[in-house]
Symmetry: C2
Amino acid sequence: MVSTLKPQLGANPERARSHNKQLVLRAIRHVGTAGRAEIARASGLSTQAVSNIISDLLGEGLLIEQGVRSAGRGLPVQQYAIKPDGGYAFGVEVRPTAVFTALVDLVGTPVLTRRTPLRSAEKSTILETVFAQLDSVLTETQIGKGALMGAGIVMPGPFGDTGLTGTDSELPGWNTGDPAEIFANTLDLPVFVENDANAAAMAERMNGIARGLDDFAYLYFGQGLGLGLVQKGQILQGAFGNAGEIGHIQVLVDGQAVALESATSRLSVQAFLAREGLEVTNMEDLISLYSSANRHLLLWLDNAAQALSSALSIIENLFDPQTVILGGAMPDELLDHIIARTALPERSVSNRPDRVHPRLMRGTSGRMTATLGAAALVLHQAFTPTIAEAR
Amino acid sequence: MVSTLKPQLGANPERARSHNKQLVLRAIRHVGTAGRAEIARASGLSTQAVSNIISDLLGEGLLIEQGVRSAGRGLPVQQYAIKPDGGYAFGVEVRPTAVFTALVDLVGTPVLTRRTPLRSAEKSTILETVFAQLDSVLTETQIGKGALMGAGIVMPGPFGDTGLTGTDSELPGWNTGDPAEIFANTLDLPVFVENDANAAAMAERMNGIARGLDDFAYLYFGQGLGLGLVQKGQILQGAFGNAGEIGHIQVLVDGQAVALESATSRLSVQAFLAREGLEVTNMEDLISLYSSANRHLLLWLDNAAQALSSALSIIENLFDPQTVILGGAMPDELLDHIIARTALPERSVSNRPDRVHPRLMRGTSGRMTATLGAAALVLHQAFTPTIAEAR
DNA sequence: AGCGTTAACTCAACTTTCTTGAGTGTTCAA
DNA sequence: TTGAACACTCAAGAAAGTTGAGTTAACGCT
């Protein structure tokens, strides 16, 4: 979901330049540092065009010179890299009880992250809090608003009034109106809104384990379980922005059909352990239970792995991704355990001898993944050529 | 899967023009006939640019003048339409025992369709047959090869060596090498290869019930059951071209987990009825059983509808499409019956009050859907702007 | 019926951006 | 030492889009 006007699909010199600029930035980002000729080959532009564009980008402060490198014959290569402070992205994760914010620089390094409790989950409170945080973050970091390229907002999906409405941890009052537009008006910035799983997937793609991957799926442990889908480098949103609602599909655990997220989610492990009289409220509780090899937790993990195996079969056969990443608000040890115990379906298009990536990998999880992913939405946009595909 | 070299991502005047041309063609195709100003508004180009492009396209024989229409004030609109004989697409569907071919004009009207039995399912036999058919079709229709814009090939997936290899009706010898490239070399044409479900989805989008839809799913009754996914107007292919292999995922029928296509496919109904001593070999047999309200068939239909309901839940929640279309090699009556009996999952992101399309619709099925879809792949390309999104 | 307004379209000048080809400088290898 | 390979720059040229003024036709108000 984006807050933009109708895209201008036609190409003219100006739009072509903008497109090519982003192409050059992306090519440089892809390899870290690069010279003109290399970029020209990667983009299909002439060296001269790349030269001109680079000189523009240097002027705009988006690139820095990175010394020369003499590689083989010929004139040594003058190299360029993304200038980290060439721009910033504001990432926001809205949860019912708190707002997480992050300011991230152009290469994806977090400059500052914060957690701000919410007085209430009211729409107006959220908007005020986010606005105040933006303001305070900018003054604290001494970064001008002009350097801000946009804001990414992570909100619990699904968006709009759907058959899943009324479940989980929703926020009241957002079913009407386009959230992206509302935030864009409040913040006076380009705004991108996604659910946690999609944002987390983008975070992994920008700076995590999914760097360089263009087609993958991300299973995100949030309150429930979400699925972020990246196809040809783009988030798969669906017609109404609600693709990836995997939590409610039925999977098999011990021959019984259950909703995936009733077997595989943070709420699920809490409920499962509560039935055994164990109260876990945070990740540390889980870690200590795991390190003491608590048999109830181990049982839950096995159930989760079983459910996950079914889910994996569905995801792989429907999307044929390069890999499936597991991450989110769950301790790394537990994710690793689940991954090790998850049977990789044999009857799957992903079961191919020539694979280069494992079928199931752990993400660089952490509490802030989704928030940083929110910021990554903005960066992704900045590095994505603008002349759009057909609609 | 496409047989092209690395795409030239950079924009230059020439590529911009090609992009804009396709934009204009698509805008005209979208509404049937259109004037310059209208196209300019739709594309974000100036009227003048559109004028120049239209004059080019007239010269290339891709457009025809379509008289004037005086709409309100102002100078009457000079209208243009796609010239049907401005180009042709060759569609091929390869099955183990026969090759189906179709020649389709620029607006999607079939000029000629054929079924050619195969002497064997050998790769070389197939290539020879397809080549001979292309030749014979061109001479019979008196259409020059220069007017051919490309060939679309439908082959049973999955492509490459996967965990699903060894099942169903595969063709031997295609697991190595890129089929698109092999056909491109044989036919000396741009070639697009997809599975039957994807091609059928494109057929529906070009001239069928999915006209104007950009995000939908197509459940295709072939030998098994395939899923064609269209996202933002493009076929979702997956990292290795095998997305949509839905037939092998587990669904619930009467509380039992079964593979979807063991409950919902042509093979499935044949097997089910065979167990009751009923032999059906073609669609007519099914139709007559249905019109006599055969209780075994009705039972199978109920099972199929149950399985489909599970599948629908998965498809809707993972893709959030505008609609799901059911079609392929199954009589319309039976499809309608299944659709009427399929419970629409309540817990689905597609269960929204503001829907405009039904959640489940019947495609304009027919024996040739996939073959015409093969041709539609070529047409789709011709109407899709070329400056690509990020990869 | 007359006349101003609206709208589509064309013409010609101008602008932006890309490409091309010649030229320069550096490095490696024979 | 010399020539080939390669990165890059300079200057000229080409392609395609935009802009703004001008033309034509239809509508609608008086």
